[in-house]
Symmetry: C2
Subunit: 245 residues, 2 copies
Amino acid sequence: MNGGFRAPSTGTVVKAVLFDVFGTVVDWRTGVAGAVREFASEHELALDPESFADSWRGRYVPSTARVRGGEREFVSLDVLHRENLEGTLAESGFDPNDFAPEVLDRLALAWHVLPPWPDSVAGIAELRRHYIVGPLSNGNTALLLDMAKAAGLPWDLILGSDVSRAYKPDPMAYRGPAAFLGIEPAEIMLVAAHPMDLTGARAAGLATAYVPRPAEYGEQSGHVAAPGGDWDVVATSITGLAARM
Amino acid sequence: MNGGFRAPSTGTVVKAVLFDVFGTVVDWRTGVAGAVREFASEHELALDPESFADSWRGRYVPSTARVRGGEREFVSLDVLHRENLEGTLAESGFDPNDFAPEVLDRLALAWHVLPPWPDSVAGIAELRRHYIVGPLSNGNTALLLDMAKAAGLPWDLILGSDVSRAYKPDPMAYRGPAAFLGIEPAEIMLVAAHPMDLTGARAAGLATAYVPRPAEYGEQSGHVAAPGGDWDVVATSITGLAARM
């Protein structure tokens, strides 16, 4: 890595490398399933923590889509995670009203403290030497801050979705950070494990790096990473990405 | 320092220690005068760099006051610094139109790269172990980001005045960050070298720490720090503050 990477798709030198977080930087499934396992054990509930985590996560895109589509005002991802927890409990055959609100509040905070993938901290630290590094996530600032402090993610700055008040793949979510950073959208590269996110970033004028995370849904999930696609960089880890830039 | 400091004025345990920046964390006068000296030498101008820096800084409070008072829409501190540079040049007997706009743009960026006081980096790093740390400055995010990267200021996050779109001592400037951090204003402590700033913070419900910087206007300025006042902590350095918390 020596800085000054020029993205083929934009012809522009990258100044900031911003990251999708859930699935790309952190292993949300292991972290959330761990908190769910503890909750289930404490309340003697028969449930599969990994499946519960998957169902909870499954409600995420539809819930942000209602904000993107203008069906409801912007609310933070903390609010959506808390609502979606009640939906997941109900779907799993439990009555959310059987639990004290504070207990569910605490469980919903599981999304604030998630383990990074093994290469995340080192890769971000390496990129930070030559680029601005930060999250470009649908997470709100407080969530991303708690996560960064717990996992030691060495961000230069954290601007959550509550700053731009837009959810990816809304173009405003990708373009919003540029004005705060004092740079152009084309000077930002989004790093993500999800082609849909990269497609949104590219449509908004950003450079793109694809870092597939085949273990996102568990080692045995049979989850197959999408093919490489026409992204500016494709790498199997963030340290690998750093080496290419 | 062992965390969990309870501020006498609020009776609340502090979770985030946020800093005024110009004068409190960085020595703006030395940094700006250095850039002005280079500019003057390049353009063969007879001026005193320190006095020029003082005049430029002198326009800062009146220019933010026009935004606070609603006389003009919010514009970033970068815009104000650039405008105030022209005013300072004119006041010093130079016609701003004698210089290429890009030359003045570049000089105005002097405020992005300023030397920290000797205790700043170590003190912030120490506080970061137990508290959220960040700037609470009238600087815009891009300015604070450039400054942090150049000086190695180990902030957890950077939310510039362009996020809250308010200038201290407007109460919104002090209260705005709390919502993004997911905490109450009383859980934030402002650290500042200027009693006016601390008075604003206290009026907005924050805890306060006074760290006078008698050399802000130069070692020989005869500038006398205001007396201690009734702040939650008074310390002579940020490392000293960290030791008290």
